[in-house]
Symmetry: C3
């Protein structure tokens, strides 16, 4: 059974902690010995982008190189590589190839496959099946990594690592896996001229509850609450890790006493694919922008965002350029956590093996 990295929720908390610890060692320039420093020596990863990317692509490609491996970047384009996912179809339409062949052949060439495939934004009941990612995971005989589909687990790890750094988790003698417990974490919806993917919001909710924080999902109306699958994951995490989950539509009480403010815009699911109807609603909530007045309500909170960010729309210049903003560091951490994920998968486990220098040395 091939091990994949499709969602953090599939990995144990101990496995995630081991990956974050390895990422921190990579960032400090340590890798636990010479051979462990190049765990991808001679190995390769295919990065399959059904949607464009600059940051994800750069961080994965550089990460593979730094570990001794090589990344092949495949950009079939949004419309250019129609693939069949159903079994039994007479393929006389658009699709030239079945996912079974695509994934099996790639698996013969490379040691890992990263997949980015955004929703098509027409029908959420289809998009929420995450068919491209799940199709690769089903047929590939090598590990598959989610590079953002309807969740974004690599961003989750980068975000968690940035928060651990902010709250002293990298200090000598500290316990990075403990420093986030009980922190007040606000995931705030913000305005954006277009209706965006919920992936990063789903992921923020998932990882914040997984880390045992008191999580508030702040959004304009109940229509902006996230898909029930991710609300369920968050509730399960609260049950397992402690912490709490609250939905709020009140800006002032949500920000009050917060330790972390994470901003993201997304489209309301009831209007999925019918964004013209949603537009006048979202336009009423431009004031959800993260600004100095709101940040003043917090307990000197850290501010972050997954980037790209429209300045003075999602957050003001003053917030972005303040010491509270850890977004650049979080973006940097993508490199380190992805290296740790690739190293764990190259070794064939989730990173927990205490006998290896990679996982826990």
């Amino acid at each position: 059974m091939t091990r994949h990295f499709l969602n953090t929720q599939d990995w144990t908390r101990a496995e995630l902690d081991a990956v974050l610890a390895q990422a921190a060692r990579f960032k400090r320039g340590l890798a636990g010995g010479a051979s462990n420093g190049r765990p991808l020596e001679g190995k390769s990863i295919a990065l399959v982008f059904f949607n464009p990317s600059l940051r994800t692509r750069t961080s994965f490609e550089i990460g593979a190189f730094q570990l001794g491996g090589h990344a092949v970047v495949l950009q079939p384009g949004k419309d250019a590589w129609p693939i069949e996912f159903d079994l039994g179809t007479v393929m006389d339409g658009e699709a030239e190839e079945h996912i079974a062949e695509v994934a099996r052949v790639l698996s013969r060439y490379v040691d890992m496959i990263g997949v980015r495939a955004f929703p098509k934004f027409v029908d959420w009941s289809l998009d929420r099946q995450d068919r491209v990612l799940q199709g690769f995971a089903k047929y590939a005989t090598v590990p598959v990594i989610n590079m953002e589909t309807i969740t974004h687990p690599c961003q989750e790890l980068a975000h968690a690592m940035a928060l651990q750094e902010r709250f002293g988790g990298t200090d000598p003698g500290s316990s990075p896996e403990q420093v986030l417990r009980g922190k007040k974490y606000v995931l705030t919806w913000t305005y954006h001229p277009k209706a965006l993917n919920t992936a990063v919001a789903n992921s923020a909710l998932t990882i914040a509850t997984r880390m045992g924080m008191d999580v508030t999902l702040l959004c304009p109306t109940p229509e902006y609450v996230l898909d029930e699958r991710y609300m369920d994951w968050a509730r399960a995490n609260v049950a397992e890790q402690g912490g709490s989950l609250t939905v709020s539509h009140d800006i002032e009480s949500a920000y009050s006493g917060a330790d972390v403010v994470y901003a993201k815009s997304w489209g309301a699911l009831p209007y999925f694919g019918d964004w013209e109807r949603e537009k006048p609603i979202r336009e009423r909530y431009r004031h959800f922008i993260v600004d100095e007045a709101k940040m003043a309500l917090t307990r000197n909170a850290a501010f972050s965002h997954c980037l790209p960010l429209r300045r003075n729309v999602k957050a003001t210049d003053a917030v972005m350029d303040s010491p509270a903003c850890i977004a650049i560091g979080e973006a940097e951490n993508r490199l380190h956590v992805q290296k740790a994920v690739m190293a764990a998968l190259a070794r064939g486990d989730g990173g927990q093996d205490a006998t290896s220098g990679i996982g826990v040395s």
Copy 2:
């Protein structure tokens, strides 16, 4: 005189056998010693794609990496890089550059050049000149490799290797170069909604006869017979290697007793560029699909295809998912044979040098 790999027909049978033997060693993880394992150390290859590619690109890029080299992927796009091929032209039209400069400059940067350039599908008398590939071969001062134009020699070698494996050629004490002699090989045309390139069909005919097999070209009507150049190559191969060449339009007798069934769709040359006229003809032959009933006529034949393949159009799910199907292994072999071709060209010969560990150790 620079050695190229434009067609298998330009190389001796002994040279091809040496390349296939090296490919088998690469596949087994052997390369004849440390330095021989990285024959492209510090070297580079430019992969010039005038038409898109995922599999060819991945296998060449990974292959170069595994041999210690680096592949630069250039995708000028179908329309984006108009190049002049004639001498003496006043270049005040579309073309910004002459092939003489393109090939010479690239030759200063890299150690090898791979070229993919499909026909334009307007006038076969033009396309059959293979001008892009021949232009690079004429002006480049480094070896040029055909990555599919109007033939596909890398696919030929991958196919031959998969067949050798299937018929015991990789068993201890066997002679891979002998195991295919006298096998009954059927190249069958199949339906496809679009008129496709004849390259893989030309190549299948070429390599199957070269390997000394009894080859049947099965196609709906005489109009689907291949270009005379490739029929001539096949006849010359029969004269040299033994075996035979038969054209058939009868499915039952063609499949009867076959050891190998290789499927491919292509457009009929008399209708080249005028595919609307051909369409009603090809629609009549959907029953050429490879299915279990036809396979039951064979002598437990191996089935293969160069991929991508439309399931239940060219071959049924049952055939694709049967043990007879060696298409995934054949696709994998692209990696190994292309490494062997690059290694042979990097060494400056066709792979026959008995004093080197690469060619024949």
Copy 3:
């Protein structure tokens, strides 16, 4: 303060001479010792192409590989990555991201950033601000390299190196930095069906005067004289290095006694963005083509061009295929000078450090 390579004019003559000397060592296969041969070991460079490229991309990518590093090629496309450059803007238009975040995040992933960004050809007063390049240089925390914007300093170095080679500068005991002094250098405008960028023309003027040559700018009318900034640079170079600067509209006297003829086409700045008005003017000067009759007026001059070149429009076949033409060698030198620039920047200086094997060994 991060050191960039935005223009040769920002570097001292001694620094440029050191880079050219290192490029010559790279070309001869020498690099001053094992570790110095791989000064980019484990390092990476992002090549950001806002406009397409094949030669620049290949030479940088191969160069990084040969030095032990890795190049990530980012091609956001002409219209695909709208970036905000102004501070304080409410970003509710096209731009999804501010240059501040783009440059800072990339700086966390890679050790150097190359940028290609051509003018938009609408308003020269905007284009001459070179905002994309200057924006990267302002916010990046790693060195930025100009891969052609409104100047082309890498081409300048390749050109200077090719001329040094031609005039004996690589002979034993010669002084490459002296051999060009006092040579008569003609930069001649030539016809081209489209109005082109002035970047290479600006650069030719800059480097030719910097090398102490007697420079003639030959163009059809005063409207084709280059932007005052570059004319000023040229005059400053003459003051510093000796040599001279002359503008001429007379072909015969310009070519007479020339040692170097460098051809380039460009659009006349007074018609910038209004090229239909310029077209009938440029059509009158097709006879500026470099041909054998003009070359016969010179002192056995070297001819060059930055490529791509339209044969029999900018220069005749006879000139291109004559021994006078050094354009292919100049193109090759792009590889060597860019390696030397990257090596100098990786070391954190302009290449002058006499204690290092890279700079001056």
